[in-house]
């Protein structure tokens, strides 16, 4: 039967050309996929599958195009070896592609387990190495915290005995001071305001008042009294303190930033005393930063521990290592006489402890200091207790 060869020829020629293009594309894509992640099992499988398939069809198509160009209409006939050669290659690549599929479909799950396990091993190994590397640092960190705790306890002990001593002294001095004050005032009543004696008496009175203030401070450091607690917003107290300090250090051009946690709600505390603590801390910070310093005040609620952290950080001169142990001691000061009595932190310490809280310090000489006040969150229900 004689039939037209045109459809077959057309399909073969166009098809062969397309096949070459797509076969090569398949190999290229599979290779890229594999290169992106050489360990991806699917990628490996697709590469192994695409290579024999792509090669098979490229060769077949190229063979056909060659044949159609060089031996059209079988005149002269194609050489004898051509067809077994093409058959052989076809067979080889068909079997190749088939084997890849059979192999992978049988071993896929096994591979998956192996790959997953290997990845796990790798991750664990990496973690181990990391752990090993940071072990030293971790031990150091723990040791540091332990030492810190020890120091804090030692300090609390020392301050407690100093407190006892100073409350005794304060009590003994307070009465004579009152007597001095009273008699001075009596004497002043008989004098002419403006006379020499009147002015002398005024000086005595002023110094007696100073002494009284110091004694008062000492007492509030040592006193273990029940704080007068009212429900107050700590943020209002902070704003008050800032306002107060800013009025006094206007010339220094100090920036005070606040970062207040909205989760901190009003709570029971001794408002006046806490304000005094904050004024002390902010004042110290202002004195430490000098001109153009930056102070940051931050509050944070630690809900699980039912505590509020108030952090006063400055970028000032910092505290020397040897001094940091003693800054809470009464009368410890590095400031020139007249500028500091060294009672600010001692009083603050007493107040915070009296309110069941804690005051912590960390400082880097030359970089600044951070004081953290930790206060228990007291609500109406548990406001009475203090430690």
């Amino acid at each position: 039967m004689t039939v037209t060869a045109i459809p077959i020829l057309l399909v073969d020629i166009i098809g062969s050309a397309l096949m070459i293009v797509f076969s090569l594309l398949a190999i290229v894509y599979a290779r890229r996929l594999n290169q992106r992640d050489p360990e991806n099992l699917a990628g490996i499988f697709l590469l192994w599958l695409s290579v024999p398939l792509g090669t098979l069809f490229t060769l077949r198509s190229a063979g056909y195009i060659l044949e159609a160009t060089f031996f059209p209409a079988a005149q002269p006939p194609a050489p004898e070896y051509l067809s077994p050669l093409i058959d052989g290659i076809t067979m080889l690549l068909l079997v190749g592609a088939a084997s890849v599929i059979l192999f992978f479909s049988r071993t896929w799950n096994m591979f998956r387990v192996v790959f997953t396990e290997r990845n796990m091993l790798r991750r664990t190994r990496k973690e181990l190495i990391d752990l090993n590397r940071t072990l030293k640092e971790r031990v150091q960190e723990r040791t540091d915290t332990l030492l810190n705790h020890e120091k804090q306890m030692a300090r609390a002990d020392r301050l407690a005995s100093i407190g006892q001593l100073s409350s005794g002294i304060a009590h003994e001095i307070n009465n004579p001071l009152g007597v001095i004050q009273g008699y001075t005032q009596l004497l002043m009543r008989d004098e002419d305001p403006g006379s020499q004696r009147y002015e002398d008496l005024q000086v005595i009175l002023k110094h007696a008042k100073n002494c009284k203030a110091i004694v008062e401070d000492l007492r509030s450091f040592a006193k273990r009294s029940l704080p007068e607690k009212t429900e107050t917003s700590i943020h209002d107290v902070i704003h008050d303190a800032i306002l107060f300090v800013q009025n006094r250090v206007r010339k220094q051009n100090i920036r005070i930033d606040t970062c207040l946690d909205d989760a901190v709600v009003p709570m029971y505390m001794d408002e006046k005393k806490i304000r005094q603590v904050l004024v002390n801390l902010v004042m110290n910070a202002c004195q430490a930063v000098g001109e153009n310093g930056v102070i940051e005040i931050q509050t944070k609620l630690d809900a699980p521990a039912r505590q509020v952290h108030i952090r006063v950080a400055d970028d000032g001169c910092g505290i020397e290592k040897k001094d940091i142990e003693r800054i809470f001691d009464p009368f410890f000061t590095t400031k020139p006489t007249g500028e500091g009595t060294g009672l600010g932190l001692a009083v603050s310490y007493g107040i915070i402890r009296n309110n069941g809280g804690e005051i912590l310090v960390s400082s880097e000489p030359g970089w600044g200091s951070v004081f953290t006040v930790i206060l228990p969150v007291l609500t109406a229900g548990n406001a009475s207790g203090y430690s």
């Binding site: 039939v3 992640d37 058959d87 790959f115």
Partner: protein, 150 residues
């Protein structure tokens, strides 16, 4: 084009068997992909279509080969450039037409390869979206059993 006359009988048998093996393996691949639930995922879906087309292509090529070579049921030769002389041994006209049809096997192999390329391109695009270390080690995300738990 699938027809390659004048091979040796042994060669012909081997080629036929390799076609059979190829068909079986591609059938396994289709089943395997759909069993893994990958048919819904682009990429693997196209590869499954490709396998289905390859099965049909192989069946066509197989038939053309079978008709021509070991059986000798069909003898085909070109006359001039544009005509084909096809003769069937028993004078069965339908064999001639079947032969004619299966000679158009490229109509199947081209879509098969196109689907393969499409599938690979989709998978490649997906791989570009996810960094390598987040990929499942086996590239097998559908089964939901990820022992590594990441």
């Amino acid at each position: 084009m699938a027809a390659r006359p004048h091979g040796s009988p042994v060669g012909a048998a081997v080629v036929l068997f390799s076609h059979l093996l190829f068909i079986i393996s591609m059938a396994i691949l289709t089943g395997w992909i759909s069993r893994r639930g990958d048919t819904v995922r682009s990429g693997w879906r196209e590869i499954r279509y490709s396998a289905i087309f390859f099965i049909h292509w192989s069946a066509f090529a197989f038939t053309a080969y079978l008709l021509e070579d070991p059986s000798g049921w069909i003898a085909a030769s070109r006359i001039g450039s544009w005509t084909l002389y096809i003769e069937s041994a028993g004078g069965h006209a339908f064999l001639v037409w079947i032969y004619y049809l299966v000679r158009l096997d490229q109509l199947l192999s081209v879509p098969a390869m196109v689907f393969l390329v499409l599938g690979l391109a989709r998978l490649l695009a997906q791989a570009k979206l996810t960094p390598p270390d987040e990929n499942d080690p086996a590239g097998d995300r559908t089964e939901g059993v990820r022992e590594d738990g990441v």
